[in-house]
């Protein structure tokens, strides 16, 4: 199948052509969503951050928002700021525009309030949309795809069926010269030795142990049983007993490829192949980090069923639980429950996911896209000041 995408000024390849309206601070959220809702063809990102943040926490927020704007699925960007916030909307815009795409900035205090800012923002957004509609898809190669791997609402079928089938697809994309990102560090606890063995160097192996130790220590420092949150209540009902069991099932989604390196939250992988990103187990925060790191498409396995999407990247939902598929067909793209029922092999389902991935790259809407699921959340490090 020929794959088609939008080739961006920096050579990266988009599989969507979104005009993104993005707020630099929580105080600009209302104006941001309001402008986007008035202009069909735009998507928006709002969040609770952008002010009262210190050091690496502030830098992480800025990196995440810049990463979203730079993501190749985005054609152009309108940044909305308030005017007095810590996260300067012009710094955000500069970080995005170095990718060569058009970025406009609107500052509410400079425009004279909500109504004036909205009026001007709608005009700018309309212009960006009409420009974006002139861009055409061109043939692209699978090697330009960055895949985000996510699992959420896991149950016993995730590790047995959905994740191994997803792993088949990840290995296929990596072998074709593409990139794949495995995330959710707390869900490596108890399986880190297996990942470390697959690292391409001692240094990468050490880094894997390091991020897992950091995640585990933060639970130990709180003096609580990690089981209060990992595995989750739903995981336990679904048959997962301990974090170790959850982790061992989780890592199947990254197949068998060697691990090239470890990147920070929202940091783009430094080359092709399989990479690890240090993110929390929180699905929306984890997806946000990987998409900010450049992933154009997300494979998401779920046992219990979850509707989560992303504002700018299609999320393909796969369940290994045949009952969940029947119950939540509206939300699930791929039924991998056939593996549990003995009707298909892991490879059979892997090939079906791959075919769906190609269709989605070429423009087919995922269930999460069609339903308007656009969840977004940035992970926090420090306290708010």
């Amino acid at each position: 199948m020929t794959l088609w995408g939008y080739i961006r000024p920096d050579g990266s390849v988009g599989i969507r052509n979104h005009v993104l309206v993005i707020s630099s601070v929580v105080c600009a959220n209302e104006v941001t969503s309001s402008i986007s809702n008035s202009v069909p063809g735009t998507v928006y990102v709002v969040h609770n951050e952008g002010c009262g943040q210190l050091g690496i926490d502030y830098e992480q927020t800025l990196r995440t928002l810049i990463g979203f704007g730079r993501n190749p699925n985005v054609a152009s960007v309108l940044v909305i700021g308030l005017g007095c916030e810590k996260l300067d909307p012009r710094v955000l815009a500069d970080g995005i525009s170095s990718s060569g795409k058009r970025v406009e900035v609107l500052v509410i205090q400079e425009e004279g309030g909500t109504i004036k800012a909205k009026e001007k923002g709608i005009k700018i957004a309309e212009e960006l949309v009409s420009e974006a509609y002139k861009m055409k898809r061109e043939p692209i190669d699978l090697s330009s795809i960055v895949l985000a791997l996510e699992c959420g609402g896991s149950d016993a079928t995730s590790g047995i069926a959905a994740n191994p089938a997803m792993g088949f697809v990840s290995d296929y994309v990596v072998k074709a010269g593409g990139t794949s990102i495995l995330s959710e560090t707390p869900e490596f606890i108890g399986a880190e030795h297996i990942l470390a063995k697959r690292a391409i160097s001692e240094e990468v192996a050490r880094k894997v142990f390091e991020i897992v130790e950091r995640a585990e220590k933060s639970a130990l420092a709180m003096g609580v049983d990690l089981r209060g949150t990992q595995p989750t209540r739903g995981n336990i009902e679904g048959g997962i007993t301990t974090i170790e069991e959850k982790s061992l099932g989780c890592i199947y989604k990254a197949g068998k490829s060697p691990i090239q390196g470890v990147v920070e939250y929202a940091e783009p992988p430094k080359g092709k192949g399989l990479w690890i990103m240090d993110t929390p187990g929180h699905d929306v925060q984890s997806i946000t980090g990987m998409v900010a790191g450049g992933a154009q498409v997300v494979l998401f396995s779920t046992g219990r069923g979850t509707p989560v999407g992303c504002p700018i990247a299609p999320v393909i939902k796969i369940t290994g639980n045949p009952m969940t598929y029947e119950k939540m067909r509206d939300n699930i793209d791929i039924n991998a429950g056939t593996i549990i029922l003995g009707l298909e092999t892991i490879e059979d389902v892997g090939l079906r996911i791959l075919e769906e991935l190609f269709l989605v790259i070429n423009g087919k809407m995922t269930k999460a896209e069609a339903l308007g699921h656009r969840e977004f959340a940035i992970t926090r490090i420090g306290p708010t000041m």
Partner: protein, 101 residues
Amino acid sequence: MKKVIVMSELDNVATALESIDLGEGISVDIFGRGWELKAKAPIPFGHKIAIRPIKKGENVIKYGEVIGVATEDIDIGDWVHVHNVASLRGRGDLIEKERRG
């Protein structure tokens, strides 16, 4: 016969691929070596059943790896879950207990 899946030949638990009632017969297949056993408890879909006896303090093995430790003696056919298995990782509660004496 109800179906369960064993992920590695090292495992001492299997996962139920359908709901199993108390006393129901189960056929276990460990990579070509099969036997039958009876469920000593109802086993919900996706939950684990012991296929070997596991003594209190012994590791529970799935995927050929340690998923926790048995907190009581577990018999063949028993339901294996949070009531008789404890995680060995991220146990801030144990450190807190030790600190308090």
